[in-house]
């Protein structure tokens, strides 16, 4: 029984990892930049939720998600419009925007240390965090279940928007050829702003949900970034459900590994990632480049 519970909990945490990866994959796939600051933005969203909770102590943590999504979306949109698009437009070298976000990650992380303190924090989830269900003798938390539902909904929505809607077509066209879409009246810069906004909104959702699950510090971003990357790369570019499956695989590996070996940290997910990648250099579900 304990093994089934471990695997189920692995799926819960893995689904969140999938959402982290989805945010990063959007930017990586569409804007073609490696956003090193993604982890810091996840932590920033967690702090944002903590601040909102302080001002509205009676609000349900799930309700806090709404302002968090709006604020992180606007933040991402503005960041891309004001700063990152400058270097995406001016250089064909993809390392320049990557190094820009590298500088940002350094600045944001230490700004958080300086202004918000380095103590571990946790987002109180109240009644919701303690609620549990008994299904077939397994005890399952309500919060992880809601988290999984949110994650699945986000993946389904992303898949739908990209494959079925007008804006999805514009985004795919921009990925294919950012010069030609200009001829059709699309400004790639605006598409990038939207994508960065969506990416950070996804990071925000996952950040808030993760902060309810475990404590975080300004330094947690590094670990979150690493996990997000592992999800993207292992899942393979251009495959949303690949990212979902990769996230779940990493989550299960992490929790099962910790059962065997309690102080292993992220060792087993890292090993899974490295082995998976060496066997399939383009990820599990990625197209051959």
């Amino acid at each position: 029984m304990v093994w089934i519970e471990t695997i189920i909990n692995g799926i819960f945490i893995g689904a969140l990892y999938g959402v982290l990866g989805l945010g990063l994959a959007l930017v990586f796939g569409v804007v073609r930049i490696v956003n090193i600051a993604h982890g810091e933005f996840i932590v920033l969203a967690a702090f944002l939720a903590l601040g909102l909770e302080f001002f509205f102590p009676s609000a349900s943590p799930m309700l806090l998600l709404v302002p968090c999504i709006l604020i992180t979306f606007l933040f991402g949109y503005t960041l891309q419009a004001v700063l990152i698009n400058r270097v995406v437009a001016s250089s064909r070298d993809p390392t320049v925007p990557m190094l820009l976000t590298f500088g940002l990650s350094f600045a944001v992380r230490n700004l958080m240390v300086e202004l918000l303190g380095a103590d571990p924090r946790i987002l109180a989830s109240g009644e919701l965090g303690r609620a549990g269900l008994q299904i077939f003798g397994l005890s399952i938390g309500v919060l992880p279940l809601i988290t999984l539902a949110i994650a699945v909904a986000l993946f389904a929505a992303a898949q739908y928007v990209l494959s079925k809607t007008e804006i999805g077509r514009v985004i795919r066209a921009t990925v294919d050829d950012r010069e030609t879409v200009r001829l059709m009246g699309v400004r790639p810069g605006s598409v990038y702003n939207l994508i960065m906004g969506l990416s950070l909104a996804l990071a925000g959702i996952a950040g808030v949900l993760l902060a309810m699950r475990a404590s975080f510090t300004p330094f947690s971003g590094t670990e979150q970034l690493l996990i997000s990357f592992e999800v993207v790369v292992l899942g393979g570019l251009g495959s949303f459900w690949g990212a979902f499956i990769a996230g779940v695989a990493l989550g299960i590996t992490q929790l099962v590994g910790l059962r065997f070996d309690p102080n292993a940290g992220l060792l087993y997910p890292h090993l899974l990632f490295l082995i998976g990648l060496v066997v399939r250099p383009n990820g599990l579900f990625g197209a051959r480049l």
């Binding site: 820009l100 350094f106 600045a107 700004l111 690493l226 070996d261 060792l267 890292h270 990648l277 060496v278």
Partner: protein, 340 residues
Amino acid sequence: VSIGSRIPVTGLLVIVIAFLPFLLSKGDIHLGFEVFVILALAQMWNLLAGYGGLMSLGLQAFIGLGAYCVFFLSNTLELSPYLVLPAAPLFCAAVAAASAAALFRLREAYFVIASWVFSEIIAIVISKTSWLGGSSGLSLLTTGLIDLRWFQTVVYWLSGFSALAAIAGSYVLLKSPIGLGLMGVRDNDRAATSIGINAWSCRFLVFVVSAAGAGFVGAINYLASLYVTTVGAFDIGWTGAMIFIVVVGGIGTLEGPILGTLIYTMLRELFTLVLPVSGSWYLVTMGAIAAATMVIAPQGLWPFISEKLGIELLPIRREPPSGMPESGGELGITYRNTRA
């Protein structure tokens, strides 16, 4: 400019570095040590990323491995740490060579992440290995075998030697035909391959050399404090500092990391000694400067200064043979191997 003409300047630098400890205070010697360590490491990352095109976030793996290698051998064999120091670069080179086959299957962003994960795995494994001190780290047990009166001076000399060797070694390598091939691969690996350059061996060479260099410097750095932990030695912050220095100074130039190290050190001294603010503000400023550099002058400061003032200290560009066009035309290879 031939390599030979650089020898007198190098000799002069060796003498200056060798005699400085006799003129400086203990604090200044320590500062000099730190500057040389980070300069040598930055040159290694520059070689890897700026010339080999391998953007690695995992060079700290070899800092840690080098340090652990020396501590383990010295403690186990009861030999002076100076004697086992050469084992660090050799061991790191061997690990790099063995892992290259797997890591090189991955390109660009995939390589970036995999190199970082590779380092994390080694760090976790060591922190779980009891005979390597586990999570509490390793102390050097053979301090009885070294003359502690000279210790600070000796590690300072070793750091100075590493920094000079990193610059001189990179210069000689890049001036050689191998260096030309390397830059060709960095700028356009298909074009380079089409004229007979083996892209894989070029990358392999810089990967192994930079790993050996980082291993040696890592060993010296932790030897100086007589103590090493996985948290410190495998910290991504090491590579963060290298990237800051190289990117701000000028990636793909040999002068850039020197300038970057000066800026990095002055900034740190300014914040910790002059301004009454805590250490994190210095890191905030560092990050902001790196980001601003990418927006304003993506090539970094040195190419900017070099062009404005028309000076070059360690030029590695080739003059095109007389009568040849400046660019290789259809092949897309430029004879002037600067990052234009």
